[in-house]
């Protein structure tokens, strides 16, 4: 299959792995920011191809994982209302809130539907004028343009029964947080290729200049990731700290101006809470006041949510690359996809789920 097979070619991959081996002289710690990249690393067992000097730690780029518990509780509260059609990407349905999840709401009679695009939610609102259609707008910059477009369309169509529960977060503030953390071991970043398809990589100049750390925009296939790792190791070995782009077939320096325009039109940057990490200043989006009537938090009177997060899992440390999933004493025993202690064990993009699904035989003997 074109645009897939050539990036999964084992011979090409082994060749790049060999080139990495030939230039590496000392240990380096690299972080792949996006959960999709973590998933590829685990799925293809790519750590087995890399020299022992190169260590990958896994970043916060899992939208489901960083969506705050209180936000999931809000979604559940809205979805439970009788006149509501609650729409979401499939991933979010199994994420546990404080007492329930969206699948349980659906089983209890709530009208919860998986959609593949927020525009499908807009269509539902058009088709069901007597119902309130709410879309759960989660994700990073990748999903923001489509979500913005849905709100913009809803306004253009004059819909009064469409709203969005917005929980959008941004990549650069999270990378900054990791870099500012005294316990961070990260020496180079693989930046998330899909986020950069939208935003370009101009945003990373500032981080590179300030922290003298190499950043390479990387794709999601095995060959992409190995190329990105090779570029990072080359920079580190040569003492360079630059922004480079491996994912050239999709990413330009400026990104997608049309997408950015609709995002700016509909969203504004705001402080956001990240699950497992806490509040980060200017780290997400909320709807602009002109679009307030589409803001589910303002449309539905659902009150304040203070979700208590009982102690057990170390997802905060995992999401910041400070620990690996297998460092958790609950991994694969008390915490599994069936009984997740934290969101990283739920989402397909979560680091814990990726380890559990693909690699647990390498680390632990799991009891069923």
């Amino acid at each position: 299959m074109k645009y897939v097979d050539e990036y999964r070619d084992p011979q090409v991959a082994l060749g790049i792995a060999q080139r990495i081996k030939s230039i590496v002289t000392r240990p380096w710690v690299l972080m792949e920011v996006c959960g999709g990249q973590t998933h590829t690393l685990m799925r293809y067992g790519m750590e087995e191809l890399l020299p022992p000097e190169v260590e990958l730690v896994h970043g916060p780029g899992c939208p489901v994982c960083v969506t705050p518990l209180a936000m999931v509780d809000r979604a559940i509260r809205i979805a439970s209302q009788p006149q509501v059609i609650f729409t979401s990407y499939g991933d979010m349905l199994r994420v546990p809130g404080s007492n329930s999840d969206l699948f349980q709401v659906k089983a209890g009679g709530g009208d919860v539907r998986i959609v593949y695009s927020p525009m499908d939610a807009v269509k539902l609102a058009q088709a069901n004028p007597d119902r309130k259609v709410c879309f759960f707008g989660v994700g990073f910059e990748t999903t923001a343009p489509a979500n913005a477009m849905a709100v913009w369309q809803a306004k253009r169509l004059g819909l009064t029964n469409f709203s969005m529960l917005v929980s959008h977060v941004l990549v650069p503030p999270a990378m900054r947080l990791i870099l500012e953390s005294p316990s961070s071991r990260v020496q180079g970043f693989i930046a998330p290729g899909h986020v950069c398809t939208v935003m370009g990589y101009q945003e990373y100049d500032e981080l590179v200049n300030e922290f003298k750390i190499p950043i390479v925009v990387g794709g999601f296939e095995p060959v992409d990731l190995l190329e990105a790792i090779h570029m990072l190791v080359a920079q580190l070995e040569e003492g360079r700290a630059e922004v480079e782009n491996q994912y050239t077939r999709s990413v330009t320096y400026q990104g997608n101006p049309g997408a950015q325009k609709i995002m700016r039109e509909v969203f504004e940057v705001a402080d956001r809470k990240w699950r497992g990490i806490g509040s980060i200043a200017q780290s997400g989006y909320r709807l602009r006041d002109e679009y307030a009537r589409f803001d589910a938090e303002r449309v539905f009177e659902i009150g304040e949510f203070v979700a208590e997060e009982p102690k057990e899992c170390i997802s905060a440390l995992v999401l910041q690359g400070l620990k690996k999933p297998v460092d958790c004493s609950a991994f694969g025993t008390r915490c599994t996809p069936m009984n997740p202690l934290g969101a990283p064990m739920v989402s397909t993009e979560g680091a814990c789920a990726a380890y559990y699904q693909y690699r647990r035989h390498t680390y632990v003997t799991v009891s069923h």
Partner: protein
């Protein structure tokens, strides 16, 4: 923001949801939730030696004849899809459950649960499709039942079919009989049915239409058994896909299974759709494929027999049954990638969910 504002150790995650208080869709996915439902609700109450084998069909000895007996319900939406409809599926599904026991399917029952308001023309079309599928498979629909529920209390039409067949002398197959060294054979490309349904349901369009593989497999099974009786086990990887089937066999036989990613055929369209939606073809449903666990010395002849049958032309040997030792403990299925690395092929908790981005 200043780093001192963040104390990573102070953040925690939620407690798990306890046992589901209600049935969720995942309980019908053929994954781990389905297995739990069986284990926690049905098996403790219904337990008997025949049921406890957990094969696709019960094999009962009555008056010296070994009879295979099975039932299946069909709730597919849309009712009509490329490659079939709920009627042909209801025949093929039950015929295949009998065939996986090596049985010659003979008789079916058909139960219809109709929703008030359902178009009679559609029902006629579906019944005609059932009749055609049954005639082609050489089975007779000999008894049936019809119920109508109020509008809103059903989803148009549900069909249940039950089937009876005769197991030939000397055929003894069960998912508990896989032995280390056995070969794992697959009759053709995976994922066609699940993706055909999904594409139709979601209005996804591809350059060429993806067609369900829905088919009756007993002819293929007969050809395989004619080649060798050393077939330990047959399963059709329906809901939950190839991965669930292999996990079930590995679990019930107390063995591990190793498969090779490059040996598993997947049509390009199906691969493309899966890439797009973030799905793994290993978990996508099939309705006209089978997995055979075959003694090593018989693998070549069974494979040849499969390839010379219309429904097994793209059959291949996809893996081997291994001991249950070390990391490869009983019930573990692993897959070797084209990169030479090995990963676990797990039973999913519930349905595969399209990912966010």
């Amino acid at each position: 923001m200043s780093p001192s504002a963040i104390d990573p150790t102070s953040f925690t995650c939620p407690a798990p949801l306890k046992q589901a208080e209600r049935i969720v869709l995942g309980h019908g996915s053929g994954g781990r939730l389905s297995a739990e439902l069986l284990r926690d609700v049905f098996l403790p109450l219904f337990s008997n030696p025949v049921l406890d084998r957990l094969d696709d069909q019960a094999v009962l000895e009555i008056g010296g004849t070994r009879m295979a007996f099975t039932t299946d319900s069909f709730v597919v939406q849309p009712l009509f899809f490329p490659g079939g409809d709920i009627g042909s599926l209801a025949v093929h599904g039950t015929v295949n459950d009998l065939a996986m026991g090596g049985a010659k399917p003979l008789f079916l029952s058909a139960g219809f649960i109709l929703e008030e308001g359902f178009p009679t023309a559609d029902l006629k079309r579906i019944a005609a499709s059932m009749a055609r599928a049954a005639a082609a498979a050489g089975v007779a629909i000999v008894t049936g039942d019809t119920k109508v529920v109020e509008k809103g209390k059903g989803d148009g039409l549900f069909i249940n079919t039950t089937g009876i067949g005769i197991v030939p002398e000397g055929v003894r197959m069960s998912a508990s009989q896989a032995r280390p060294g056995d070969r794992v054979l697959l009759s053709g490309p995976i994922g066609d049915h699940g993706i055909a349904i999904l594409a139709k349901r979601e209005g996804l369009e591809f350059e060429t239409e993806i067609v369900s593989d829905s088919a009756a497999l007993h002819g293929l099974v007969e050809a395989m058994l004619a080649a060798s009786m050393a077939i330990r086990c047959l399963r059709d990887p329906t809901r939950g896909g190839l991965s669930s089937t292999l996990n079930e066999i590995a679990g019930q036989s107390g063995v591990s299974i190793q498969i090779e990613e490059t040996a598993i055929p997947v049509h390009d369209q199906v691969r493309g759709a899966c890439e797009l939606l973030g799905l793994d073809p290993l978990y996508v449903a099939n309705e006209g494929k089978l997995v055979a666990i075959v003694a090593p010395e018989a693998a070549a002849s069974v494979l040849a027999a499969m390839r010379s049958h219309a429904l097994g032309q793209e059959a291949s040997i996809i893996g081997t049954v291994g001991d249950a030792v070390g990391n490869q403990r009983a019930g573990t299925v692993t897959m070797k990638s084209a990169f030479g690395s090995t990963r676990i092929v797990d039973l999913l908790a519930g349905d595969q969910l399209p990912r966010i981005c």
